[in-house]
Structures are given as structure tokens and as C-alpha cells.
Amino acid sequence: MREQGATGLPAVGERLPEMAIGPFDADALARYAKVSGDDNPIHLDDALAASVGLAAPPVQGMKLLAAFESMLRSWRKDLIVTRLSGTFVQPALRGEKVTLSGRVMRSSTQDGVLVRLHAHAAARAPAIIAEATLRPLSNGIRT
């Protein structure tokens, strides 16, 4: 059972249910490149990826960062995400499964709920270190 404060907001330290995405194949990277307009060849060209020391093309960081929104929405439907930011630390490569995780770092009616997020692929270091701010639907962004 999730512990909540009197405000109904999540407790500091609460861990979000993990979400697994991928593995993404070349077609998936090509589809994202097409729909997003991100035609950086590093994501699609094996030889270019190899030239910078990667075993396979990296998955577009934005494709992974964007997936946090789904995890956050599934976690708490009474909260809305108002801010999402992430640093792309380590490439997640084509063919690797990616696990999204998160933990509540701050929970305040005034400042919102701050969640620290990680995306992990095969490498030991996280692929993405991110943060999101969520607010109750009642005083969040206008939808």
C-alpha cells in the first residue's frame, strides 16, 4: 500500500513502479526519426556509430525521455506532469531493453512533487538521469 501524507500527495522516498520499454530495433529508431524529424544519422547508421566506438546505434534520447511521461501518468492519475528534464548520460543502444524507474524526492502542496528518474539500459551507468515535477490536477497546468 502506498503511504501518503494528509495532503494525498505521495510520500518522499516512494518508488514508482518500474516500466520496461524496448528493446528497440532499427525500424523503431527509423520510425521515431521520421515522426520527430530528428534525422541525426548516428541513430540509424551502424558505421557512424562504430566510428565513435558504439557497438550499435544509440536510441534517440528524446524517445526515451518522452517515455517517462507515460510512466508518471500511470503512477498517479490525480497528478499532472508540468516539467520534465533529463540529461543523456550514456547511450542506450539499439537492441537493449530499457528500464525506467523513479523515486519521490520532494512532495509539497506549494512546490509540487519532484521525482528523480532514471533510465537504465545494459550499461552500468544510467542512460538518462531526469527529473519531473508533478502537481495535483486541481492546481496544475490548465488542460
Partner: protein, 131 residues
Amino acid sequence: MQADSKLLLGPTRVRVDAERAAEFARETNNVGNSNIAPMAYPAVWLSAPQVHAAIAGACARAASFPLHESQSFAYDQAVRFDADYVLDIAISREESPPRLRIEALLTTVDGAPVGRFESLLRLVPHGGMPS
């Protein structure tokens, strides 16, 4: 673009393409929200030809390719499918480390704030990863 200079693009009128937004949602595990764009959808606008050309030009001059270093999206209100918005973009070239900072401001046509987005692209010399 010279280091420390800033290229301003816009204001540009933008609108969510419902079909493209649905496809973007599918490709980013965000299905299920039918009338609000995924919060990362403005990435589509940041790949517009004029932005793309500015990035490509900076990369060519630096004999580098862009590596996405960080990204942020912050919203005052959701981006709807049925509304027009105004997008202003500023692209700055930074020298140490070599990178491009792309800042975008999205407002309603009446000037009300909607969202702020920032992309940092590291410029990686051909043949090497950044240290």
C-alpha cells in the same frame, strides 16, 4: 554562427498535427491521451527546417555532429490539438565545451505562456566522442 552569438528564429505560428502527434505518442509509449499532445511533442517543431539548417550549419563549421546532451520541457498549460501557438527559438553557440543551446518559448496567439523548452547539443568532432 559564431561562439557566444545568438540566432533568433520566429515568431513562427505552429499547430499540433493530430496524426503526427498520435504517431509520436505511439513511438514514445504515450498512447491514450487523445486531445493533448505528448509533452515532448514540441521536439517536432525543434526539428523544423530553419532550426535544422542552423544546427547543420554549426555542425559543418565545427566539423562535428550533434549529440543530444540534455533536454527540458516546462509547461504552464497543455498543448491542445485544436489550437494555434506561437514559437520563438533562440540558438546559442557555446565554445567550452562546444555545443549549441536551443531555447524555445511557446505562447498562445494572445501571448499567454504555454511552455519553455531547452535542448543542449554537444558538438562532437567527427571520429571522436566528447571527453
